[in-house]
């Protein structure tokens, strides 16, 4: 009984919660408990990809936005351009720092999130949903295999943060 109560309070502290429609938070051990979602793939440069059929949506992770601080400006490519895996496609500015954003996979840009021009803070408040950055048509879907899953990415963030 005591163990169950302890387990339950630990679960609350670690914010293990029930899932949303098709994306659910995985257990995170990072200091700040940045959220990491199942069903997405992750790059070591802290971008995420959601692959649905012939379209892949790309943005930056909760861990990334937390380390950046308040985003005040977002630079995005034009639709019709192409992006290459591990190469920059845009940038975000926060606290006097512009940080390049790299694409985890290659493809053709079919849509960019124009809301980010007016409301760059969406990247902070909703990094996996309203703060998406670009949608592409992947040219080599096999590239997704080399990306990290939720659990691997959680561990990766943990290791990075461990040197603070």
């Amino acid at each position: 009984m005591a163990l169950r109560m302890w387990a339950s309070s630990t679960a609350n502290a670690l914010r293990v919660s029930s899932s949303r429609t098709h994306l659910s938070p995985a257990l995170s051990l990072s200091r700040r408990f940045s959220s990491v979602l199942d069903g997405l793939k992750y790059a070591s440069s802290h971008e995420w990809v959601k692959h649905e059929g012939s379209v892949a949506t790309i943005g930056i992770t909760d861990h990334a936005q937390d380390h950046l601080g308040e985003v005040v400006f977002v630079e995005l490519p034009e639709p019709g351009g192409s992006v290459a895996a591990t190469k920059g496609f845009g940038a975000v500015e926060s606290v006097k720092a512009t940080s390049d954003v790299n694409s985890p996979i290659s493809g053709e840009v079919i849509e960019v999130n124009t809301k980010l021009t007016e409301t760059p803070g969406l990247i902070n408040s909703s990094p996996y949903e309203d703060g998406w950055m670009i949608k592409i048509k992947p040219s080599s879907p096999a590239e997704l295999e080399s990306l990290m899953g939720a659990k691997e990415y959680t561990k990766f963030c943990e290791e990075e943060d461990a040197s603070h």
Binding site: A7, L68, A97, A162
Partner: protein, 274 residues
């Protein structure tokens, strides 16, 4: 949470602790190469930084710090806020100043002689830092430097990044981070000609003055010698050292940009040491 998951959690915490110790040990072994550049043209410094960033990304070089000054130069950040330039470009040129558009964060600013500039080219991933805490460290560097001369400076509030003494700005920051490698950096006003700031809205913040250590400090500053690069370097390092934990420093004394010729090896430019 089941019992096996608790054990897993315990094991993972143990592993994280071991990794933490290893990372701290690695931090102790970190090397910084410091270059005293003297006065260097903005575009030359930019090209050098781009080369150093590429080499740092490829792990061909260690973390590097450039200490320098610029001739009178105005620069804009990625957002190209040229409405904060209050004179025309030709008026700037007749003053003997240059204007450059850059990829760094931040708004418009001025650089000139007797303003100590530091451009750290360092890997944030190696130290587990993000943009926000890196910028905070740059602020702390300037606050520390000011405090050594009896000046109480503070970090700016939201929307007013940089370092302030009261309502007067003494230091500016503008950084670019590419795949976790930093470039550009900070500019601290030791004793520049502040009248140059009248031609801009500095950092896009109207109705606020710009100041210098000379103005704010009641203490005697170290004497300037020659091109003032030695003073800029030693004062900058006094602020930088306590905030960035490098165990080993490799100081390159007066490196002069001689010729822009391609050559094998680390740097595109030929160095001479005096």
């Amino acid at each position: 949470m089941t019992i096996p998951n608790c054990l897993l959690l315990y094991a993972e915490l143990k592993a994280a602790r071991v990794l933490f110790i290893v990372r701290m040990a690695m931090r102790v072994c970190r090397v910084l190469e410091v270059f005293r550049m003297g006065t260097i043209n903005y575009l030359d410094a930019l090209k050098l930084q781009e080369k150093l960033v590429t080499d740092r990304k490829a792990r061909k070089i260690s973390d590097t710090l450039l200490s320098l000054q610029h001739p009178p130069t105005y620069t804009l950040g990625k957002r190209r806020t040229d409405y904060n330039l209050l004179v025309t470009e030709s008026e700037l040129q007749s003053m003997g100043a240059e204007l450059h558009y850059t990829q760094r964060g931040g708004d418009i600013t001025f650089h000139g002689p007797h303003q100590a500039i530091l451009y750290p080219i360092i890997s944030l991933r190696d130290i587990g830092h993000g943009a926000r805490n890196y910028v905070e460290k740059l602020e702390s560097t300037m606050i520390e430097l000011a405090s050594l001369y009896g000046v109480k400076a503070r970090a700016g509030q939201a929307g007013e990044m940089g370092v302030w003494v009261g309502e007067r700005k003494i230091g500016a920051i503008g950084v670019r981070i590419s795949s976790g490698i930093t470039s550009h950096g900070l500019a601290f006003n030791i004793d520049p000609d502040l009248s140059y700031f009248k031609h801009i809205v500095p950092c896009g913040i109207a109705d606020k003055e710009v100041t210098s250590l000379r103005r704010e400090s009641n203490e005697t500053l170290p004497a300037e010698e020659g091109d003032d690069s030695k003073r800029c370097l030693s004062m900058s390092l006094d602020g930088f050292n306590p905030n960035f934990a490098y165990a080993t420093w490799c100081l390159r004394e007066h490196c002069k940009l001689l010729e822009k010729q391609p050559r094998h090896g680390l740097l595109e430019f030929i160095w001479a040491s005096r």
